[in-house]
Amino acid sequence: MSRVLSQLNLALSGMVDGVLRSVVQVRDSARGAGAGTIWHNDGLIITNAHVARGGALQVALYDGRVLNATVIARDDKRDLAALSIEANDLPTIPLGNSAQLLAGQWVMALGHPWGVMNATTGGVVIGVGKNLPELPGMRQDWVVADLHLRPGNSGGPMVDVAGRLIGVNTLMTGPGVGVAVSVDAAKQFLRDVLGTPTADAVTDSQSQYV
């Protein structure tokens, strides 16, 4: 293989390995419900509201531990949820800045598609913003990329080439297009709700949730 390709591959797998340590699986009643991302080393995890719907949630960490999780906050309208687990010194993911994303930049999404654990998919940023014509009525700050999200990716991280969180994988609008709630929107959500859980009715859409 050429030198450049080998270097690229090494860099990609190295970056993914680093990020995976902060990716969790969220389970309800012993079934995988989706993924989650460790936001804070004292046990704060971000995921989708639609992943955190069931009762008796548990979180499986990359190191193998399975811990009970509490839902601190859930916002169905933004499709975000904050969970808490009893653990310290967890590997957190560095936070990126979705407002600075440019079309064409390479991003990766991690999670557990169809139950395949700790898997990744990559592509470029198609666009960022509040208006997605194929998601009418869901005005939210999105990051859209041409990678393959599948059920089990929800709540997992979308990261840039530096392994920084730039979105929370949320849904797919086609087999080749993945949509994430932007990290900027997730930051705002945590600012708004930490300490105050909210729950609004979700607006229906025709897109398939992952």
């Binding site: 860099a11 970056m15 079309a103 392994g163 297009v177």
Partner: protein
Amino acid sequence: MSILQDLSNDLAAAVQTASQSIVRVEGRRRMAATGIIWSADGLIITSNHVVERDDNLFVGLPNGDRVEATLVGRDPTTEIAVLRVNATGLTAATWVATSDVKVGHMVLALGRPEADVQATLGVVSAISGEWRTMAGGRIDAYLQTDVVMYPGFSGGPLISADGAMLGMNSSSLSRGVSLTLPAVTLQRVGPTLASHGRVRRGYLGVSAQPARLPATLISQLGQETGLLIAAVEPESPAEKAGLFLGDTLFHMDGASIRQMDDLMAVLTGDRVGQAVAARVLRGGQALDIQITIGERN
């Protein structure tokens, strides 16, 4: 990590470079699509199928302005349409040939269905020779990639890794396969649409099928078949030239005519109105005949 940063930044930079020549085309009710600035004086090239109406057209420029546009011409067979806007400071696209890329090269599909340019990434899947669309248009090269054609990307460019434009993407060229109209085809059809409003095609007025030539002619010409004329349209250029049912056309304007494709290749728009020399086999004899090529409606 730095090589990843370089790759990612280079991709974004290629997008930025090309963005200066990418516009939004509002030509249908459902959603806007994309167009490419063809000339600095306001010609825009786009996909024919995204221009659903002939008026009430608008174009969103790279600087954010939204201006009225007029339809200059369209060719449904090659899926190309040309618009004109009244604007200054436009940056015309620069084009590169299909030979500039190889199978496996990274390419980006760009679109501007909204305010900002959007991108998808893929590789060149296949490059091949001339082909015809289902509507009969001649496309100079076959360029297939595995980019995702995002909604509104039709009329937008396929760019190489350094931001140069290889051609125009259109979702209606093929179902399920991402095909690009190469720059050479745009450069052939675009100016014709700009000056004539449509693509002129030559016309004879015959219905024909390949037929085997007699042995003496085969060895003489090194050509095995000609086109046997099965019907001549009344009042057509063929009838006016004196062509009859049963004539076998085997040579026209310097080219051997073996089959229908050879005849189609001679009936080009630039030959409309021109008198060309042709040779037919009639009653066992080779005859020279002059045909003035007409125009297809």
